[in-house]
Symmetry: C2
C-alpha cells in the first residue's frame, strides 16, 4: 500500500517535471538528461519510474483528455439552453486547464509527437470533443439562440483557438480566478454569436 503511494508519488514527480520541460523546450528538444538534471539524478535512473520518454507524453496527453471529456459530459447532462450550455462548457474547459496549466500546454502543443497508434487515438478523442461543442452551437442555431448565418465550423475553431492558447499567456499567480476568466471569455465569444445581444 504505502509503497505504491510512494512509487506513484515519485513517478508523478518525474512526470510533472517532464511536463515543465516539455512546455519550455518542446518535446523533441527536451532530452532525458535535461529531465534527470532537473530532478538531480542520472538519466538512466529515470527508467526506474517510467518505461520510455514517450510514455510520459502519453500519460500527460491522455490524462488531460480524460479530464476535458468528464467536464463536458457533466455539462451535457444539464437541461439548459444552448447558449447556457456553451457558456458552461467554456467555463469547464478553462477550469480544467487552470488546474494544470503546464500539462495543458503540453497537451495542446506536443501531442503531435505521439507515435501511432496513440496519435490516432488521441486525434479521435479530440475531434469527438470538438464535435460535441459544434453540436451545441448547431442546436443554438436551430433554436434561434444563435444567428442563422453562422459558419459553425469557423465558430468552433475560433472558440478552441482562443481557449487553447490560454496556457501560453495566463499567469497562474494572477488574482483572477479561472471561473471568472472562463466567464469573461464565454461572454466575449457568445455575445458575438447571440442574435439580440
Amino acid at each position: 500500500m504505502a509503497e505504491v503511494v510512494t512509487n506513484l508519488s515519485r513517478k508523478e514527480q518525474v512526470i510533472r517535471m517532464a511536463a515543465e520541460l516539455f512546455k519550455e523546450k518542446g518535446y523533441s528538444a527536451a532530452s532525458m538528461r535535461d529531465l534527470a538534471q532537473k530532478l538531480g539524478i542520472e538519466a538512466a535512473s529515470l527508467y526506474s519510474h517510467i518505461k520510455s520518454k514517450e510514455e510520459i507524453l502519453r500519460t500527460l496527453c491522455f490524462d488531460m483528455a480524460a479530464e476535458f471529456r468528464t467536464s463536458l459530459s457533466e455539462v451535457e447532462k444539464q437541461n439548459v439552453s444552448a447558449s447556457e450550455k456553451l457558456r458552461l462548457g467554456i467555463i469547464g474547459h478553462v477550469k480544467v486547464m487552470a488546474k494544470d496549466l503546464t500539462a495543458s500546454a503540453v497537451f495542446m502543443n506536443e501531442h503531435r509527437h505521439l507515435s501511432q497508434p496513440w496519435l490516432r487515438d488521441f486525434l479521435l478523442l479530440r475531434i469527438n470533443y470538438i464535435n460535441r461543442f459544434k453540436t451545441i452551437i448547431e442546436q443554438g442555431v436551430s433554436t434561434g439562440d444563435f444567428k442563422k448565418d453562422i459558419d459553425t465550423k469557423l465558430a468552433v475553431m475560433t472558440l478552441f483557438s482562443s481557449l487553447n492558447w490560454m496556457p501560453g499567456w495566463f499567469n497562474p499567480d494572477s488574482t483572477i480566478e479561472p471561473e471568472k476568466l472562463g466567464q469573461q471569455l464565454a461572454d466575449m465569444l457568445i455575445n458575438g454569436l447571440k442574435q439580440n445581444a
Copy 2:
C-alpha cells in the same frame, strides 16, 4: 544577374521545403538529413545554400514578422473608426497568413527555438505588434465604439489566439477566399465587443 536569381531561387527552394518540414515535424524533430532527402540531395550539400539550420528558422520568422508589420502600418494610416480599423487589421493579418500558410505556422509555433539574441528581438517585434492592436481596441473603448467593461488584455489575447491557430486548420484548397474568411472572423469577434450589435 541570372546567377543571382538562380541562387536565390534555389536557396528559397531550400527554405520553402524546410518550412514544410518544420511545420510537419517541428523544428527540433526535423533533421537536416530529412530536409536534404526532400530535396533529393545530401545533407552536407545544404550548406552550399544556407549557413545553418537556425538561419533558415530566422529567415522564416523575421520575414513573416516584417509582412505583418507592413500590413498593420497600412491600416493604422487610415482615418476610420476603431472598430473599422480593427476589422481591417484582422483582415490584413489573415491575408498575410494566407499568402504563406506554411511559413505562418512555423512563425507561430517554432519561433521559440530561436537562440539569443534573435529570440529577444523576435519577441520584442511580437509584443509591439500586439500592443498596436491593443491600442486600437483601447481607442474603441474610449470613443464608445466598444463596451466600457472590456478587459483589453483578454480581448487582444483572444483575438490573437483565434488568428494564430488558423494555419493549423485552414484548408488552402478551400473555396473560401482569405478576404472573406478574415471578414467573417472579424465579424464574429467584433460583434462580441460592440455595444449595440
